[in-house]
Symmetry: C2
Subunit: 338 residues, 2 copies
């Protein structure tokens, strides 16, 4: 297996990116191609013991900057690390593309250079979401802010394939996020998607409210990308707010301060359980290749975990599984607008 | 001022309801009319020292049960505490209706018996949402799962009137919840509502992401009722999950257990700061009267706080403020479907 790593992806590129590639090559043995500024990558590699590791470098002279219109940037920079890397996947020279770069740019690169799997209306952005009961799959988390019921069905199909093929879940429980558990609950989108999923061969368990979602009562939860984005960002904001409040109250007196010091390891373990870096990055489902998008603030270990995620998706046969699933049941008619 | 309290509202009615009425009558001196089963209310009142308190009882022989279709229940039970209480507000004998009963039933009662303020397309369900920086106003949190941009504008107008008149905020900062702060971000609904709000006389500060919302960077945040319901329930679920994880990790060893015991008062203070019972109940904005819906699990103090919320809304002139605001700027055309 050959995996492409965008060496110019993370906020502090190429340090964490190269470090992650070295860790992954050592641990997994897969071939990793570092794409980006050759001189900078080689200088960074010189900091590591890479003897005998299956690492190679592919030069790309350009970088997609933050703040550019993603589609324009991809078109204007044919020698950027994103475009060069995607083209290696497109041509079959590699199976997966991993980047901690700008999400919009990687999305645009994947759509424009790899293209959608035949029959997929809208690729979905997914996150393996860490919970105390183990990670679950949420999608869409922001690629499609306005959705049709068929998109939610396809998200469910793709998310289910991902949970099965890349996370090892058997017949993943698929649910729709809604404002009530009962079948008739939800907005118009949810109600229509419910019917499509009820008729599908997926292991559809109905609607879940946030309470059930955060209790891990489904393996895959689908929603429109607006709601998903708000959900994921709210979970992060509430956690941060609560930890901040607890920290402040603990520091407000000597006894609670002492208690906080003694209890500190417990807080550390909670943080570790919820750390998205341990799970990997976001996954773009529905394009012709495995695409993982790590966080800009990724460390070397986070990059390594994103590469691990890519190799599990490739070895599990994710893309063929989505193609097969679509062929078995696809509610999207040919006539429908693309 | 005369305030109606549905004595048959809370899950353990009429105990907490009557206790709350007694506390409120004693603290505020407003007249409170307890509506419901006369015998049960009087038996409960006998448990309290009510000498000289402005409390009265209005008999209502029926109760709206959970699980009934709300609109049908309201129509089928003209002598229920909800209908009898709403009718006292409708006839002008009282200014506000407070209940810890089923939200759907109170909504239906308010819509069918009080009716909408002229020009309001959809009343909005609001919660004063507790944050470390103080409560903010979120709406809609579930009454309208499918919204048009005009509804969001009217939510903003009503929420702003509520923050100003009932919470004492001067020129409340109004925002739209979105997946990005920039003006062009959001789904189709948010983008259109943005333009309406940008042209309005409200103190519109643009879009906020969950990060900004939970940091208290707006006083009023509007959203469709589906998203709002998911947001509020997610915040609750994440808090519960995190507290549970911390508790479990603290109890996993003797040192952290001791630390947890010492730090316990800090956790209690955090819980108190986020306790919705301290703020009051949900508020239905856009009907011809002040309507407060408390939590079914309300205690006497929670009921008292809901009554406090009602009296602040009445004395602040909330309903006239919404009428005046609508007259000044209403983007909803007459031609539009009701």
């Amino acid at each position: 297996m050959r995996i492409i790593l965008d060496a110019m992806g993370s906020d502090s590129y190429p340090g964490p990116d190269v470090a992650g590639a070295v860790l992954a090559a050592r641990e997994y043995g897969d071939e990793i191609v570092l794409v980006g500024d050759q001189a900078k990558i080689r200088a960074e590699l010189a900091q590591h013991d890479v003897h005998g590791l299956p690492l190679s470098v592919k030069h790309a002279s350009q970088i997609v900057e933050m703040g550019e219109s993603p589609a324009q940037a991809i078109k204007a920079r044919p020698d950027s690390s994103v475009v060069v890397g995607m083209d290696l996947v497109r041509s079959g020279e590699a199976e997966a593309f991993v980047s901690a770069g700008n999400t919009g740019a990687v999305l645009a690169g994947a759509l424009l250079r790899l293209g959608r799997i035949k029959g997929i209306k809208r690729p979905g952005l997914t996150t393996p979401f860490p919970l105390p009961t183990g990670p679950i799959v949420l999608l869409d988390i922001g690629a499609n802010v306005d959705c049709r019921p068929e998109y939610l069905y396809q998200f469910a199909l793709m998310g289910s394939a991902y949970a099965e093929r890349a996370m090892g879940k058997d017949r993943p429980r698929v649910a729709i996020l809604s404002n009530g558990e009962e079948a008739g609950k939800g907005n118009a989108l949810v109600k229509e998607a419910f019917h499509l999923l009820a008729e599908s061969p997926l292991n559809f368990v109905g609607n879940v409210e946030p309470k059930e979602l955060f209790a891990g009562q489904a393996d895959v939860v689908v929603m429109d990308g607006f709601t998903g984005n708000i959900l994921v960002k709210s979970a992060e904001a509430v956690s941060k707010m609560l930890i901040g409040m607890i920290g402040k109250e603990i520091k407000s007196g000597p006894v609670t301060t002492l208690g906080g010091l003694l209890a500190k390891p417990a807080f550390g373990r909670v943080r570790a359980q919820l750390d998205p870096f341990n799970v990997g990055g976001a996954v773009l489902l529905g394009v012709k290749g495995v695409v993982i998008i790590g966080h800009g603030r990724s460390t070397g270990v986070a990059i390594k975990n994103a590469i691990r995620q890519a190799r599990l998706a490739v070895s599990g046969g994710l893309v063929p599984a989505i193609e097969t699933g679509l062929a078995a049941f696809n509610p999207v008619t040919e006539a429908e607008e693309s």
